[in-house]
Homo-oligomer: 178 residues x 2
């Protein structure tokens, strides 16, 4: 494994959801970079079925934090968020591509020393979220990614309950499932 | 943007599907590292709804390449593949989590200088794939990620038609969608 692989691999191994942030704003070039990484995400038949809304207005962030609580509470505490609006949504392929682009955003944020987490908009809360952000049919919002510099509290998520992972010998099979 | 962010960001900006490989086998520690990155992927309620089958048997790889052609043809040319078996599948949340873990595998492979691509198992081909890999109900295989060192041909995917991306000014909105 070459030296060039070390830093990215270390990063990838340590990307964790962070939900507590310092109030510091994000530099514009950092935001642009995260969006650039998201832009290059692959998708089924290269449809790129997404639009990103960059949100920094504190009132809007707070409102999202409230309307989807508790799943979106951390968005209300963040200095910025990216809403991932899917062009249609409702199919498994859409959800698969959405997961891909969201994972890229989380990883790009971590590469810049930022914390981030998925804020999940439930079906019941979607009409209010769409109205708040001016999202028309047939577009569909399910994910709002909070982004910010981790607070001292937010940078210690690894020890939190529920963040454990199954060991590799349970997860991996050789050549066949069974 | 600090120096530590440079390499990972460069990597993230340049992860592209690569479908043509040299026959060289992958070192065991590299495979273990990619699986370790996959293991730490986040999922809804931390369910970790996946099992990974590591496939290096040439006959098995070739058979997957055939049964899902043309979407899986590149798997038949790869020295290794990871089949991402979902614990149940069929819901949007499963597909979202599957997209997340697949994106991590693609990125971890790129961090090691490897190429990789998604081999997509269509619904019609799933029974044959399940039989080949011994996957029982209710598990579900949709993604087989091919992995290998890029061939000279495979390392030039950027110029291929269909890999263009929409520009940021079409993709990004400020504060509201419209």
């Amino acid at each position: 494994m070459g030296a060039t692989a070390q830093d990215p691999i270390h990063l990838l191994r340590h990307v964790r959801a962070i939900r507590s942030f310092r109030p510091d704003p994000l530099p514009d070039d950092v935001i642009a970079d995260i969006l650039e990484v998201a832009r290059w995400t692959g998708s089924a038949r290269n449809r790129q079925p997404w639009t990103f809304i960059l949100i920094r207005n504190p009132a809007t962030l707070r409102r999202i934090g409230e309307l989807g609580a508790p799943q979106t509470t951390h968005v209300g505490r963040a200095p910025a968020a990216i809403a991932v609006v899917m062009s249609s949504g409702g199919t498994e392929v859409d959800a698969y591509d959405e997961g891909r682009v969201v994972e890229r955003i989380l990883t790009a944020a971590a590469a810049h020393g930022l914390g981030s987490a998925i804020g999940w908009i439930r079906d019941d809360d979607r009409p209010a979220a769409h109205e708040l952000l001016g999202i028309p049919e047939p577009h569909r919002l399910r994910t709002v990614v909070s982004i910010g510099y981790p607070s001292a509290e937010g940078s210690r998520p690894k020890s939190a309950p529920g963040t454990a992972r199954r060991p590799l010998d349970q997860l991996v099979r050789d050549e066949r499932f069974s």
